[in-house]
Symmetry: C2
Subunit: 253 residues, 2 copies
């Protein structure tokens, strides 16, 4: 049984809290948030507080707040010989300023308030200053997921950049597709099987081998036709990504 | 029973041929390809030819060859009062130069040689000059899929552009993610649950409501950190897509 305290009330904190609460090997003994109303729905399930002086004794203290606030917030924590971790993909272990042992517990997934997630498929990236803390984080990760990875801060930053490409940017391209369909009076649903297949293809093929379309075919006629119909930033995106595909597949610009 | 002849030997033609051959309501009576060796594996299943003078009598003649070749190839077909269609998303109905009735039968999916597909989830976009031909194409579509859409050439072109964004460009972003992982010595598999969830999210949310990440949070600190680690065209792509997300979500540049 691992005793955990969570700091935060946002998407990641909420998903983690719900996951911990339903896990028999983990005991979420307390949640903290500066604005207590944001975590009041956990009142019936765990202790809640907005006062750092009331923090109890636990095995792991998890800071799950916005990236920009981690350094400042953690500097208020004096938890000598205890393990304090953050859940961010972007910031390094050293940005934790708590008086404590330090680590990272970063679940790589896109969290939205109203979308339920199965944690057992979410990779968790862990890091710690001390071997014994790494063992503890592995144990915590193992209780909630099948996959965990031991990455250093440098690797985690690269991973986070890759995640921006394959999640944030891809979702934005879905949005552009949605807009183009709307303007042409076509239901967005028509694209959904293609979107699903595109994501499914790379479970068995390397992305580079799955590439199709006018840019990789060097079909300049189609590219020009498409560019004529686009304007502003969508035209710039079309040009840049087509050039990048051509570069990747070996045509000089 | 609809009698069909297919012209072509590429990915789309091969997938369509296999689908027609296993369907009881459709009879693929002949396949044509200029280079007969490309379709010789169909020899045991249907008639094959590389001679246009040998073309049999059918209900629908389907041209499934590269976009650039359709106008030229179709100009050789004299099939008066018969229905000739192409399978392209890019080119208009009028680019068919056959002496015949004309139509379009465009399956919206990404076809790779070594990846099997279930046609029943593939949307098929149809168009025809004459009402009776439209009815025939609806019938053909209905035999192989649950979803078909009647789109005009203008709409189909928009749809094809949207498909380039949500398929070709997205696959390229997968490739960039793959490269970043490789360089940091991280297995690409770590990104797959995120990729799956990103595609799954928009089955229940509009893409604009599913947007997460540093650009929509206006987290310029993280954006700058990421840009420092990127170079060349990946840096340009990161900048342009982040700006586009900021534009969409209402921040002036």
């Amino acid at each position: 049984m691992i005793k955990v305290i969570l700091f935060g009330g946002g998407n990641v904190a909420t998903h983690l809290a719900n996951e911990f609460l339903q896990n028999k090997e983990i005991k979420l003994i307390q949640m903290y948030n500066r604005n207590i109303s944001k975590i009041k729905h956990f009142k019936s399930k765990t202790l809640i507080t907005n006062n750092l002086e009331n923090i109890l004794d636990a095995d792991i203290y998890i800071i799950s707040i916005s990236d920009n606030a981690v350094a400042d917030f953690s500097s208020k924590l004096i938890l000598k010989n205890k393990l304090v971790v953050h859940t961010s993909g972007t910031i390094s272990l050293n940005e934790l300023k708590s008086i404590s042992n330090k680590g990272v517990f970063y679940p790589l997934q896109t969290f939205s308030k109203n979308k339920k997630l199965q944690f057992d498929n979410i990779p968790i990236c862990i890091e710690a200053e001390h071997e014994k803390d790494l063992i503890l984080l592995k144990k915590l990760a193992n209780y909630i997921t099948k996959e965990y990875y031991h990455l250093n801060s440098e690797q985690r930053e690269s991973l986070h950049i890759a995640a921006v490409f394959v999640n944030n940017f891809i979702n934005h391209l879905y949005h552009i597709g949605h807009t183009i369909c709307n303007e042409a009076n076509i239901p967005f649903n028509i694209l959904k099987p293609l979107i699903k297949e595109t994501a499914s293809k790379i479970t068995t093929l390397n992305p580079i081998d799955a590439q199709t379309g006018p840019a990789v075919r060097k079909d300049t006629k189609t590219i020009h036709k498409h560019l004529e119909k686009l304007s502003n930033i969508n035209q710039e995106i079309y040009t840049l990504l087509s050039n990048s595909i051509k570069n990747t597949h070996g045509e000089k610009l």
